[in-house]
Symmetry: C2
Subunit: 409 residues, 2 copies
């Protein structure tokens, strides 16, 4: 991509009312635009980051045997009334609206009830189970405050997966497989070393739910981490009894801020009973389906990566989520033809290159490259030998000469 | 994809309250689920159709030099007040909601105002223009009635593109290129022969806007088509003066029902003036940007294809939008190993195969294949010679023997 053609530019400043570090960085780098507090547009490079994250999540969910679909934003109150979650005393982050005939509609903050209801059309017998479905969906949540940028929005993208199983045993098997898949996702997007399975309260059906928490200074959550065993507990379950069960010692736990990038939990059969999601077994006896729910915050992940891996100069994208692997800079007009050729060769080889071909000072281009955070900066100047580039990873201070042919290999 | 693994099944009946032919077909075939009147979930196969359509549209928009981004569903009233479109007397299909502090928010029925406002951050000088951006966005429209299935929803997916140009001449050049790109899209999704550029009223700035209308019995619009010249006029501009301008003869026009699958129009500088979207020219003089807007209804296209190309037995997907090219059926349990091998060979060769490996009667499988509408049905039975299949296009009654190797070539 030639930057001269890109309709979006880096900005000197984020809006004065933007207090979160992740949104300030992403806005200045031209990845997002603040529409209102807690709702951000994803500009071309920001959308590429989201699509890369979604691609990784999609692969891992498909590998679990799950199928992608997409539910609706408009929701029927009657479904949520059945589970006592329409009332704002129970769920305080609803956005609601009305049809022209005056009937209420909900705007999707979650999809458990609609998914369970929809699956009633397709699940009759034990032969129809297990079933695993997921979506990438825009969720709307009427948060009282929205000061954490894309880490907690009023409008955000979530991957939510649902498992329908015949019994606890088969449910538990999938639940464990999902845990493994989640750790793979966080490793692949570059947060592996700092993301930990975290025990949290489980609600009515199970003792625990499981969060995936990335240790980062700006995280809104507080967890207690055993760095050796690589598991953590949420404050709400930090009791001697739980620590005993998990084989953890209070003295080895480090209290730390963290951002919840995923969570998974079991509904057991409670929601299926409320909504009438049942199946018949081999003997024609009816049972409620065992339900599980598995979330990953896609836009939040982008924010955590931006804030956690970024530095004082700007963003630092891991290669797997970066819009482009290379940020190619031409630093003098005499070198333009040479740089054009490098751009062409790398692009023809299928490598992602953001090419700063703009008529700007070198210093400004270097600053933009640091701010935008592609993994590797390539520089071509008038003294660069033909077929060579100056090569510097974003996360390193060391530049070296490399041949274009080596990059293609 | 093995149908035995798919969590979704065909249904005997669509819901009793579903009156539209496209939604009835798509529901029975397991492509969509009706959440409420005018809002449909896209199940795995339905989502694949949407993604295939989006892929085609994306290629053609990118070829125009446009860049994909994504705006928000939540919108600020103040932007729409500036153009007098917040008031429900002006726009009668708003869904609105409120923040917890009582402030109003709009739910996106369109994005012209937010896009124009956002681009103020990036457009200062003539050097920043032209700029072309587009998105695939879920739009929410509070339609009084919603009886046309996915052809007119309260919630639907639209591709909307916006052009920002320095003057009328460069605007017009892009506008004409967009027209060509649109006709390519409709041809590629299988509606080429029945989709026509249609002159409609242009509003304050230009004499005409341009619709793209697919001639189909269930279309909600009425157009007057010159079948020879392959252009049409909308009823609202059917005057002798207009016909004279366009070189059309009233006697050669055929009145016909049609579905509007795309439309494009010029805003001139009116919206830019209202919203303050300006640029400075070479002499530092300020001008409002010339704006154009270009829509394609993605979910509507899926509905038009379903209804227009479908027949009494079910859906008939063109190959470019079909979830899978082949629908492979094994008709006896003895042939299972042979069919498994065909499935493996075709899949390994990268061909899309929906494999009906379910334990069902042959008649039921054939009926499902017709209902679901993959372009080509392949049958393997106990008498089918090794390495062979019975091959029948969905749109033909003639089956023939073919070798798997021929399909791979």
């Amino acid at each position: 991509m030639r930057m001269s053609k890109l309709p979006i530019k880096t900005l000197k400043e984020a809006p004065a009312d933007e207090v979160s570090a992740n949104a300030q960085l992403l806005i200045r780098a031209g990845f997002i635009h603040k529409e209102l507090a807690g709702a951000y547009c994803y500009l071309p490079l920001g959308l590429m980051v989201l699509e890369n994250i979604k691609g990784i999540v999609r692969e891992e969910m498909n590998a679990l045997g799950a199928h992608e679909l997409i539910m609706t934003t408009l929701q029927r109150p009657e479904l949520w009334s059945k589970t006592d979650r329409w009332d704002e005393k129970q769920v305080d982050i609803w956005f609601k609206t009305k049809l022209q005939n005056g009937n209420d509609l909900g705007l999707a903050w979650s999809h458990e009830e609609p998914i369970a209801d929809m699956m009633k059309s397709f699940v009759n017998s034990y032969r129809d189970l297990p079933a695993y479905v997921y979506q990438f969906q825009t969720k709307l949540r009427n948060e009282l405050r929205a000061k954490s940028g894309v880490m907690r929005g009023r409008e955000f993208v979530m991957k939510d997966m649902y498992s329908l199983s015949v019994d606890d045993e088969s449910h538990q098997k999938f639940y464990e497989a999902a845990k493994q898949a989640y750790m793979k996702v966080f490793a692949r997007v570059g947060l592996g070393g700092s993301t930990f399975e975290t025990f949290a309260s489980g609600g009515a059906f199970t003792q625990f739910s499981h969060e995936f928490q990335t240790v980062t200074a700006s995280g809104e959550d507080v967890i207690f981490l055993d760095e050796q065993k690589k598991i953590a507990v949420n404050e709400e379950v930090l009791t001697d009894e739980v620590l005993g069960q998990l084989g953890l010692d209070r003295d080895n736990l480090k209290k730390t801020n963290a951002a919840e990038v995923g969570n998974i939990f079991s509904f057991g059969t409670s929601k299926s009973e409320q909504l009438g999601l049942v199946f018949t077994d081999e003997n024609d006896n009816q049972h409620p389906v065992v339900l599980g729910s598995y979330g990953i915050g896609i836009t939040r992940l982008a924010g955590v990566i931006a804030e956690h891996l970024g530095d004082e100069r700007g963003l630092v994208w891991p290669e797997a989520v970066a819009p482009y692997k290379y940020h190619l800079i031409v630093v003098s007009s005499e070198a333009q033809a040479k740089a054009d050729e490098v751009y062409k060769q790398l692009s023809d080889a299928g490598l992602g290159v953001l090419y700063d071909d703009r008529d700007k000072r070198a210093g400004e281009k270097f600053a933009d490259a640091d701010l935008m955070g592609m993994p590797i900066r390539l520089v071509v100047g008038s003294k660069t030998p033909e077929g060579q580039v100056e090569y510097k990873p974003r996360s390193s201070e060391q530049a070296e000469a490399k041949s274009v042919q080596d990059l293609i290999k």
